[in-house]
């Protein structure tokens, strides 16, 4: 169990991504879906990358998913786990896995979002294993 956290670089949100970061600060993981084709995409955009419609809307994700892949960054002042998590909504996002034993993590582990405040008023959506 690692109780230490690395320094996280601040996000530099594009204009059409600002609601995502407002959501995490409010404890919500927001995704974008298209009201024309119905598909969710990630990362969130103003224009649907499936059908090119401009009719996209934000909605709150369940915050649950599974690890698609990960790596323990050992050569760092404070080791951390970078990961791709496949969300229940069907899209995969880059994140970190925290508050766990790095040496027992495995692909397909079930995880849930943890909202982790950092500097500058930002909150990162990180994930932690769901106790079996």
């Amino acid at each position: 169990m690692s109780a230490q956290y690395p320094d996280y670089p601040l996000p530099a949100p594009a204009l059409d991504a600002e609601p995502f970061w407002e959501g995490t600060a409010a404890g919500k993981l927001l995704l974008k879906r298209c009201t024309d084709c119905g598909e969710t995409h990630y990362y969130p955009r103003a224009i649907c990358p499936h059908c090119f419609s401009s009719n996209t809307e934000w909605y709150e994700a369940s915050g649950k998913g599974s690890i698609y892949s990960f790596s323990v960054m050992r050569r760092a002042p404070v080791p951390y786990v970078i990961a791709y998590v496949r969300l229940e909504e069907g899209v995969t996002m880059m994140t970190n896995i925290i508050d766990c034993d790095f040496d027992t993590l495995a692909i397909d582990d079930q995880v849930e979002v943890v909202f982790h405040p950092i500097d500058g008023g930002f909150t990162l959506p990180l994930f932690t294993p769901i106790a079996a």
Partner: protein, 392 residues
């Protein structure tokens, strides 16, 4: 009946430096340009097309055209990271075929060892993707490590299998007097080296080096006009392809690259198959990059890369598919953190039968050079070129 081709590599030159303490980046570009032109038997006044990527100082090719005193009627500064020079080789061949230029100069140079190594470039908030990646401390090695981890999960690829790629590179590098790492290593050396980002060890990672390289690509008419010995040292550009793979709207998939597409395009244009290829040079940023690329290019089935690279199969004189016979990025050099220029140069040496005798592939007729630019687990541009001997 000789195969048709749009263009020939008439000159190739790799800078011998690996640590350019006393040379500017522009100077390195000019030095490799001079070397490649001399190799081709041409002068700078013959150059009418200039190609470079983001390692060239200034706006596009403008500063380097001025610095070198060129007078060109065609330029291309497409930047796809480390694959850019295989992209440029294709673009140069197309520009020559279209009559836009007849002597194309492509240069790469840099001195990353003189800069402090930092995080990935900050493109600011106009780059839409990085805002969702940089905050999570993504860097180059852990990005590639996630692909290796997934490949291991799906196909059982082991650390020992990946290590064979480094072992083969080191077997070749021992014969290269310019290589940064000439010590022959074993599978045990690799898997016992410190873990950097699971499952990649230190010896799964390429070197950081200063230096550079250049190519002179010419029309068939120019190639025929060259005197001895330059004419018969010309290398055919038989096929080239490039393609981009992304996170695909959130459908991330880490065990394939765009090499599936770039390779298919290049093989189709060359009218060849993987079985025809005598040796390969593959951008080896990490061992996993080579393994996945070999699968994607069709040298083995998807998932069988670990078995394919094992037991010395990539070692010249030992295995069936010699690779990176100069030691590659894993042992030789990695100028400007962009690995595909040196891949084209070593493939050129091989089809010219000018590689080191200890690593020269006998009767090398067809060689494949492949570059990967960007990051394997996010956005990657794969580029493949197939080269042939002058009489191929």
């Amino acid at each position: 009946m000789a195969r048709p081709c749009k263009a020939y590599i008439a000159g190739a030159y790799e800078h011998p430096t690996r640590h350019a303490v006393d040379k500017s980046v522009a100077q390195l570009h000019a030095e490799v340009a001079r070397g490649a032109l001399a190799d081709a038997g041409l002068t700078k006044d013959d150059v009418d097309g200039y190609f470079c990527a983001g390692d060239a100082p200034g706006l596009g090719g403008l500063s380097m055209v001025e610095y070198m005193g060129l007078d060109v009627r065609y330029t291309d500064s497409t930047d796809t990271g480390g694959s850019a020079y295989v992209v440029h080789l294709g673009h140069a061949a197309e520009a020559i075929a279209a009559g836009k230029c007849s002597v194309a100069l492509i240069t790469l140079a840099g001195r990353p060892r003189m800069a402090t190594s930092g995080p990935l470039p900050d493109y600011g908030n106009d780059t839409p993707d990085l805002g969702f990646e940089t905050p999570f401390n993504q860097n180059i090695v852990n990005n590639y490590a996630m692909a290796a981890m997934r490949h291991r999960h799906e196909f059982g690829t082991t650390a020992e299998q990946l290590a064979w790629i480094k072992v083969a590179a080191s077997q070749h590098a021992q014969h290269n007097e310019h290589a940064m790492l000439r010590k022959v290593v074993t599978v045990e050396d690799v898997v016992n080296s410190p873990m950097i980002a699971d499952p990649l060890h230190r010896l799964d990672c390429c070197v950081v080096s200063d230096g550079g390289g250049a190519l002179v690509v010419v029309s068939p008419e120019i190639a025929k006009s060259l005197g001895d010995p330059h004419r018969d040292r010309c290398v055919k550009v038989l096929g080239q392809g490039d393609a981009i793979k992304t996170t695909n709207r959130g459908q991330v998939e880490l065990t394939h690259t765009a090499g599936i597409k770039s390779g298919a395009i290049a093989f189709e244009e060359a009218n060849l198959t993987p079985a025809d290829i005598d040796m390969v040079t593959i951008y080896d940023s990490f061992t996993i990059t080579v393994l996945i690329t070999l699968e994607d290019l069709g040298f083995c089935e998807k998932g069988q890369g670990g078995k394919f690279v094992s037991d010395g199969n990539l070692i010249s004189g030992v295995g069936k598919l010699p690779f990176n016979t100069d030691g590659g990025g894993l042992c030789n050099n990695h100028p400007s953190n962009r690995g595909s220029m040196t891949k084209i140069i070593e493939a050129t040496r091989q089809v010219r039968c000018e590689a080191h005798p200890k690593v020269q592939v006998p009767d090398c007729t067809f060689a494949l050079a492949h570059g990967s630019g960007g990051l394997i687990s996010t956005r990657l541009c794969s580029a493949t070129a197939i080269l042939g001997r002058y009489d191929a």
